[in-house]
């Protein structure tokens, strides 16, 4: 099995120094932020266009992971809301024969108050999984253990526990899910840019970080605010207040 952290075949090293690991972690944070920003754009596209894009993503994932997607289609018809607490959009996944994925805007109090049901036109969710976007992405890609996240209270679930477990186990049974690359591949030129970004993001971010430390504090805070907006974090929508 490939090292789950090594997604780009062009990346050769198999032994990482602590510095290299930290650099890779920063690169991962960068691509996580990038994908979260992409998700944040969904509402601006309008319901129809975002549905078309997500349907394409789902078809692509089904082609790459036929075992898991066959299992998802064999499940009883149900809806799971995957709700990142630090992003402006949640994903509503319908499992069963009519497998589909929809983007659902989040307000300051989450989707429909964050409870099971009450999603307006998106329908009613049978179960909700909530957590920080980066953790949910790690979980969906099988990089992190869901039980461990649950024990640490980084993840909350409500509604049909069996449904969430079935979804988690089905996706975790897949190897080498790379949702960032898969999402990029439906976004045209980004697919070609992503491997280059992944190779270079770590060192470039290191240099930016070093430069940032030299800036006066007011300017540094201003940059952080801009970054938060770009990443789709809305004011007042932190895990604490959005829960």
């Amino acid at each position: 099995m490939r090292d789950p952290d090594v997604r780009d075949p062009d990346v050769a090293p198999t032994v990482f120094t602590p510095d290299a690991l930290a650099s890779r972690e920063r690169a991962r944070r960068f691509e996580t932020g990038l994908s979260r920003a992409g998700l944040g754009l969904m509402p601006r596209l309008g319901r129809r266009a975002s549905d078309v894009l997500l349907a394409r993503l789902l078809r692509l994932l089904a082609d790459r992971h036929p075992r898991a997607f066959e299992a998802l289609r064999e499940m009883a018809d149900a809806r799971v809301l995957i709700e990142p607490v630090d992003a402006p959009v949640a994903l509503l996944m319908r499992v069963g024969p009519d497998l589909s994925l929809h983007a659902v805007p989040r307000g300051a109090n989450g989707v429909g108050g964050g409870a099971v049901g009450g999603l307006g036109e998106a329908g009613v969710a049978d179960a909700v999984v909530r957590g920080p976007y980066a953790r949910l992405l790690d979980l969906l890609e099988g990089r992190i253990d869901g039980d461990a996240l649950f024990f640490r209270r980084e993840l909350t679930i409500s509604g049909d526990t069996a449904l969430i477990l079935a979804l988690r186990n089905t996706l975790d049974g897949e190897e080498e899910m790379d949702l960032v690359a898969d999402a990029a591949s439906i976004a045209g030129p980004l697919a070609r840019v992503l491997p280059v970004l992944r190779r270079n993001a770590g060192p470039v971010l290191d240099r930016i970080e070093a430069a940032r430390r030299l800036l006066p504090p007011p300017l540094r805070r201003g940059i952080e605010r801009v970054e938060a907006r770009l990443a789709g974090v809305l004011p007042g929508n932190s895990p604490e207040t959005g829960a």
């Binding site: 099988g142 992190i144 039980d147 461990a148 909350t156 409500s158 186990n169 975790d172």
Partner: protein, 333 residues
């Protein structure tokens, strides 16, 4: 010095590959039905998955064991006997079983199939273990998690089959195979249906900053804000004792949410004559499997080389945020 065998869990094909690649000597798994004690939604292996798993593992000199460790329902032996037949046909290296009738079936119809006695049989004394050896040819017993290391040493001195002990993961403090707590609350148990606290009977509720877990409609725990959570099992629930004095709040009755980690006890377990070390967690994700198996492989290699067992941090993986050596060092017993 012969090293321990490292026996690792897998709930999915991806988890099996993670275990093999991280250094397992054997991987144990179950079919996708009630014949095994981790019959959870979306988990486990189809017959074809098992065939592929055996190919993958054997190509890397790793063994595959199948757990058929629930007790067959009266009048419905078919699924359990078919599971044994299929395990033999698929050329797994051992089957892990608890029910005497099923052990007898396997011994009679598949005499070359290696039999291991599941922890679900709760065989914790010399007479019981000898009975399973003599009657069915059982070659290894997985010891229940209720014995101290000196008790294991004494047991090993008196039996002539291999022993396997849990060293990491979820900690069942009960007489395994005989616990009816889950059945009491839900009508379903690990012994018959392969599910302790079945997920379709579990609900989680946020109560302000607290997290409440309910099982079959009973609230069994409320974790305060910031407090690490555990599995929704009754043995790790908080209760108020009848007749407790005023002001007595809910408290853990049997066991706290905690995970077993016996890595520090490798020298003692070796001296006690243990042959194989088992990691719990077929229900866990492949990230857990890879991390824990890799850590234990490193510890075993270091130990085998005669160096001190290193401290490897597995804190991020444990239930309730705490680790214990469980009954192995429990002084009060």
């Amino acid at each position: 010095m012969d090293n321990f065998e490292l026996i690792c869990p897998a709930g999915t094909p991806a988890a099996l590959r993670a275990a093999v690649d991280a250094g397992a000597d054997a991987v144990y798994l179950g079919f996708r039905d009630e014949t095994n004690a981790r019959n959870f939604p979306g988990l486990n292996f189809t017959r074809q998955d098992v065939a592929d798993a055996v190919d993958y593992a054997h190509a890397r000199r790793v063994e595959v064991y199948i757990a058929i460790n629930t007790y067959p329902q009266a009048g419905n032996l078919g699924p359990w006997q078919k599971a044994v037949d299929d395990a033999a046909r698929l050329k797994v290296d051992a089957v892990i079983m608890a029910d005497p009738g099923l052990l007898a079936y396997a011994a009679k119809h598949h005499p070359d199939l290696r039999l291991h006695l599941s922890v679900q049989a709760s065989a914790a004394n010399v007479e019981a273990i000898r009975l399973y050896r003599d009657a069915f040819g059982v070659r290894r017993v997985v010891l229940p998690r209720v014995l101290t290391v000196p008790e294991i040493a004494k047991l090993n001195a008196e039996i002539d089959i291999e022993t396997e002990v849990f060293v990491f993961g979820g900690l069942c403090p009960m007489a395994e195979g005989r616990c009816s707590l889950s059945s009491y609350a839900t009508g379903l148990s690990p012994n018959k249906q392969g599910v302790c606290s079945p997920a379709n009977h579990v609900r989680y509720e946020q109560r302000g900053g607290a997290l409440a877990s309910t099982l079959g409609g009973f609230t069994i725990n409320v974790f305060g804000e910031g407090e690490q959570a555990g599995y929704p099992t009754l043995c790790k629930g908080r209760f108020v004792a009848t007749g407790a004095g005023e002001g007595s709040g809910p408290a853990y009755l049997f066991e706290e949410p905690t995970s077993l980690n016996a890595m520090d006890l490798l020298p003692e377990l070796k001296a006690a004559g243990v042959r194989a070390l088992k990691i719990e967690g077929r229900q866990r994700g492949k990230a857990y499997i890879a991390a824990v198996v890799r850590a234990y492989r490193e510890a075993l290699e270091t130990f085998a080389a005669g160096r001190p067992v290193p401290h490897i941090d597995l804190q991020a993986m444990v239930e309730g945020g705490t680790q214990t050596t469980g009954a192995y060092t429990r002084a009060w017993r």
